[in-house]
Subunit: 313 residues, 2 copies
């Protein structure tokens, strides 16, 4: 089988490490995953990457593409800090991977990598102006404008979870600011709001979970699908917060399409209506953008990172 140019792609998450072999057509030829080694020694993670690719012929590929969270300085190739993983502050990721594999390496913010994946091979395919939002534990983003990735100073662009949605409200973000999109609409925020509501409502199907302080965004989605009115109201509120944040994004960037990924986006049908209502009441009449769920699922980061190595954008 002639697969043309290809590379190893790595999605380096705070909890899971995923490694795949990806070709220039965005096909994942194989993938393996393991819990990310959290010993505090980044080199142990490099060893994990080698173990996950055991037996693979590295001489047949173009290089290694790494997607990683956080403020990741993609100009210098240095991790600033890695949420949930100790020992990575100021780690020269690109250089370390190059020296380990003796191959060309690119590093990219995981949400930007996923944005590129969805733009080139997923829901954003065919458009030049694409914004990707991943709504998960936190909220991240990636921006493509005029067919180029928007990177900004130090490659930090796309931190759309920290656009301010409600500065005078009471939702404090993990970053310390009040009213960030992430503080209101992330999976963590949705779970926390559900927790509060369910703890005080004995009739809620989430009440028992709430007594253990373990209500998650996924529980809310499931309860909403079963028709629980509290859960439906929470998903409507989720849509309103997303709609307000997306209003700012559309007026700033005028994208053709906004792609929503991450775990919470699996409830797209449950928050879509209120999200669109929030947008309709705020968008200038000339503005419009398609808003669609992501198509590549967990592979978006692998596919996008590989694509950036094989065809820079």
């Amino acid at each position: 089988m002639n697969i043309g140019t290809s590379c190893i792609a790595v999605d380096l998450g705070g909890t899971q490490l995923r490694v795949g072999h990806v070709d220039a057509g965005g096909n994942v030829l194989w993938r393996k995953a393991a819990p990310t080694a959290n010993s505090g020694n980044p080199h142990q993670v490099l060893e994990q990457i080698r173990e996950l690719s055991a037996g693979f012929d590295f001489s047949s590929i173009e290089g290694v593409a790494v997607a990683a969270p956080g403020p990741l300085d993609t100009i210098s190739g240095t991790v600033s800090r890695m949420p949930t993983l100790p020992g990575w502050d100021d780690f020269p990721l690109r250089q370390a991977v190059e020296e380990f594999f003796h191959l060309p390496v690119i590093v990219e913010n995981d949400a930007i990598a996923a944005a590129v994946g969805e733009w080139r091979f997923g829901a954003g395919s065919g458009y030049s102006n694409v914004v990707y939002l991943t709504i998960s534990t936190g909220i991240g983003g990636g921006i493509i404008a005029g067919g180029s990735v928007v990177r900004g100073r130090r490659g930090f662009a796309g931190h759309l979870g920290h656009i301010i949605v409600d500065p005078y409200g009471d939702a404090v973000c993990s970053c310390g600011a009040t009213g960030c999109l992430e503080a209101l609409a992330s999976g963590t925020a949705l779970g926390r709001r559900a927790q509060l509501l369910a703890a005080s409502n004995r009739d809620s199907p989430l009440h028992a979970l709430a007594e253990n302080s373990s209500v998650s965004a996924r529980n809310v989605t499931e309860a909403a699908r079963l028709g629980d009115p509290d859960a439906l109201a929470l998903m409507a509120e989720e849509g309103e917060f997303l709609g307000i944040g997306i209003t700012s994004i559309i007026h700033a960037l005028s994208p053709d399409i906004i792609v929503l990924g991450g775990g919470v986006s699996k409830g797209f049908d449950l928050f879509e209506s209120s999200m669109r209502t929030a947008l309709e009441g705020r968008l200038l009449s000339e503005f419009q953008a398609f808003i669609l769920p992501a198509q590549l699922g967990d592979d978006a980061g692998l596919i996008g990172a590989a694509s950036l190595l094989l065809n820079p954008a």
Copy 2:
């Protein structure tokens, strides 16, 4: 005198029409202005442009560059609507100017044109990632990312006056939405807030103006410079609103520099401290951007539009 390549630049405002001869070095060789003809016939404005350039040898130039307020569809070259000027809805501006002057024509949103001017020849010179905000009657913006102008779908990107700052407050925007940056921090909004404050305070130096309902942003700046505590508080509030909006802009785009233009920016020193406090409490620690007043004043749009014709970006 050999001026190299040059063009005629037009800044088509709702109240004032400005025409200038601009060279590739960003020099305005001459300029003339007149109140914009508001008869409802756009062709009368084309005649005005010819009158303002009377005696000028159009055969010596590369073309005509027009900056106009938006939403201006710069892909098709068509005005969507023109604030304060009747008769311009869906007017094919680029085509009409081409047919009138028989020269190559580009049209650009006036705030994007000013952004390009400040990026190439003003406060943003030397940087690749620049955001320009004009704070005037309304608030407009322009974005340069990685050395390219961000235009987005239909060229509508940069409408930063309509990013949402306080959706659950009580400031309704001229666009109909609540809590747009423009509704809180434009010159119009600043004047309106001052009006309310001064009308109820007999000791205010703006009280007499307030009784005539004619307090302007400029009055506030002047009173603040004279030490009036109400005016100083209003300028501090102005800085807070700008700081919140700029937080969203920096997290989304990671610009190297944000340039503030328009009339309200003349009070930069009066709102700078509270703006920086608002940013410091909200920006992720890795993010920073220079924030500086514009340098080209009223010429920014002429210079930027000309520059886009002579050297596309």
